[in-house]
């Protein structure tokens, strides 16, 4: 397998003030070109935080305290703000969670798609337009030329998500982060969107980090998975291993909690208290080790 394009290396973040613990506890993920890496975990585990750290759009209250995010070998935290924007703008793209607010309501679809191509990638406006139109066709939008002239509020949720997917792939980035791209959509549309993303990724050989809380989605499109709990990656493996022989108790508990139509009696099991206790012990261990390896103020707080 080729060298990973995205490397997240022991990334830790915490709240700027008042935060006792870390929100990400030394998470490491590597995604090679052509690979779809699933990032699963429950709400609040820090899934989106990882995606946001890559793009430098963490909430203001959150700061990175340790670790590195490397794109093609360059650590983003070593760059100036301008250099980082440039590197990320050219090489990475985000498919956001909520298609309703991810498009600027006052701009036509055309300029939202082509501005970036002309400004960041330096394409001529004709070339940018041609490329954007081609991509809209690829995401199966019937009348791309008409859609070009529309404003976002004239489109349905599914249409908007298609536009966002087309925009993400339009810059031909080497990495795409999809942050729960199907959560805001209804089930029938979800399936089409998922298929679309997977196909486009395969055709281009993009490295794709797919953030989701849905194990079914992981099984469908990912090759590798990281399971996140409380900002710590508790299991990281390929998909076949995850589903056939999950090693971590939490992963097993998550599987048992997934609805299954073939075996209803085994599905929807709540995560048992002893599993949670074990998890919390593991998190405490991690924090203790980390505090021990670090400077005095952190130890003082522990």
């Amino acid at each position: 397998m080729s060298a990973p394009f995205l490397e997240i290396d022991r990334l830790s973040v915490r709240l700027r003030r008042g935060g006792e613990g870390r929100l990400l506890r030394g998470a490491s993920i590597a995604v090679a070109p052509g690979v779809v890496h699933g990032l699963v975990g429950e709400s609040g585990a820090g899934k989106s935080m990882i995606g946001r750290a890559i793009f430098g759009i963490l909430p203001r209250a959150v700061e990175v305290i340790e670790g590195a995010v490397r794109l093609g070998g360059t650590n983003l935290f070593d760059l100036s703000d301008r250099e980082r924007r440039r590197l990320v703008g050219v090489n990475a793209a985000l498919i956001p969670q909520d298609p309703l607010t991810a498009l600027n309501p006052s701009k036509r679809i055309e300029s939202q798609m082509t501005d970036r191509l002309t400004r960041v990638l330096g394409l001529s406006s004709a070339a940018a337009k041609a490329r954007a139109l081609g991509l809209l066709e690829e995401v199966q939008i019937r009348e791309p030329a008409r859609l070009f002239r529309s404003y976002p509020h004239e489109l349905s949720g599914g249409m908007r998500q298609r536009v966002l997917i087309a925009s993400a792939f339009a810059a031909e980035p080497k990495l795409i982060v999809a942050d729960e791209p199907t959560t805001a959509l209804d089930v029938t549309v979800q399936k089409q969107i998922l298929k679309l993303i997977a196909e486009m990724q395969r055709r281009r050989g993009t490295a794709l980090l797919f953030v989701t809380h849905n194990l079914g989605v992981v099984a469908k499109i990912c090759q590798q998975v990281s399971v996140l709990y409380a900002g710590k990656i508790v299991e990281q493996t390929d998909v076949a291993t995850l589903f056939n022989a999950p090693t971590h108790v939490y992963t097993r508990a998550l599987m048992a909690a997934t609805p299954r139509y073939d075996r209803p009696e085994q599905s929807l099991a709540p995560v048992r208290p002893e599993v949670i206790a074990a998890l919390n012990r593991e998190i405490d261990e991690t924090d203790k080790d980390w505090a021990a390896a670090h400077s005095a103020p952190l130890r003082a707080r522990a």
């Binding site: 793009f55 990320v88 607010t101 498009l103 006052s106 970036r116 400004r119 810059a171």
Partner: protein, 282 residues
Amino acid sequence: MAEPRALHRRRSVRLWLGAAWIALLLFAAIFAGWLSPHDRLAQDLMLQTLPPAWLPGAEPGYYLGTDSLGRDILSRILYATRPALIVAIVASSAACLAGSLLGLIAGFFGGWPDRIISRLVDIWMAFPPVLLSILLVAVLGPALSSVIIAIAVIDWTRFCRVVRAEAMQQRRMDYVDSAKVAGYGAWRIMAREVLPNVLPAIVVLFSLEMGIAVIVEAILSFVNLSISTDDPTWGSMIAEGRGIVHQAWWVLVFPLICLFLTVLAFSQFGEGLKERFDPVMR
């Protein structure tokens, strides 16, 4: 479905009536010299306090009567549209520009710029506005430019507060994050992505502010703190008419009607614009 349509028509009516009155004012201001039947400054003691044309004792050619110095009221009202509109446009633009820019910076960037600007607004709004404007004009000397400066200096806070709130709301939208991801700089995102979404609010406020500016100018004229006393403004005409309202009500009433309709037109125009923007933007 009948109801929304009817609603829409009513909104359009107020929008177009407001626009029509504003257009009429503009026309009057531009062609005042050509429209006025008499010299706005010519006094004629033989023609003191003539009633308007439809009342007994009227003199032909003096359609709205004359004031206590025998000056033609219609001509004076027509000329007075000039200072009123100049103040409305220039003062509101200055207040809008300064207030919107500061509000946009405060709302979009947050943090210390927001804290500084917000405190400044708080302090500003603790001053009673009418007293502050009278004080400012008294210090700067009575002139149209002083009136404009006074209004802009006082009213930028209106724009600042509203634009700040709107920008804060927009800043949280995912499209701002998408723009950051695409590699755009913060100032560009503020100007090109966020500003267009705040613009409807600014346009509406601007229209309301023009009405307010007209009133403030009238208040300052009323207390003799606007332009030179010879040249007519609605406020100074009202002040002159106040003393003789029992003998010649028209001296007071006609400029008052103009003032009232103008302020109403600006506010209705603003409201109409707001409702026109609303269903699309929200």
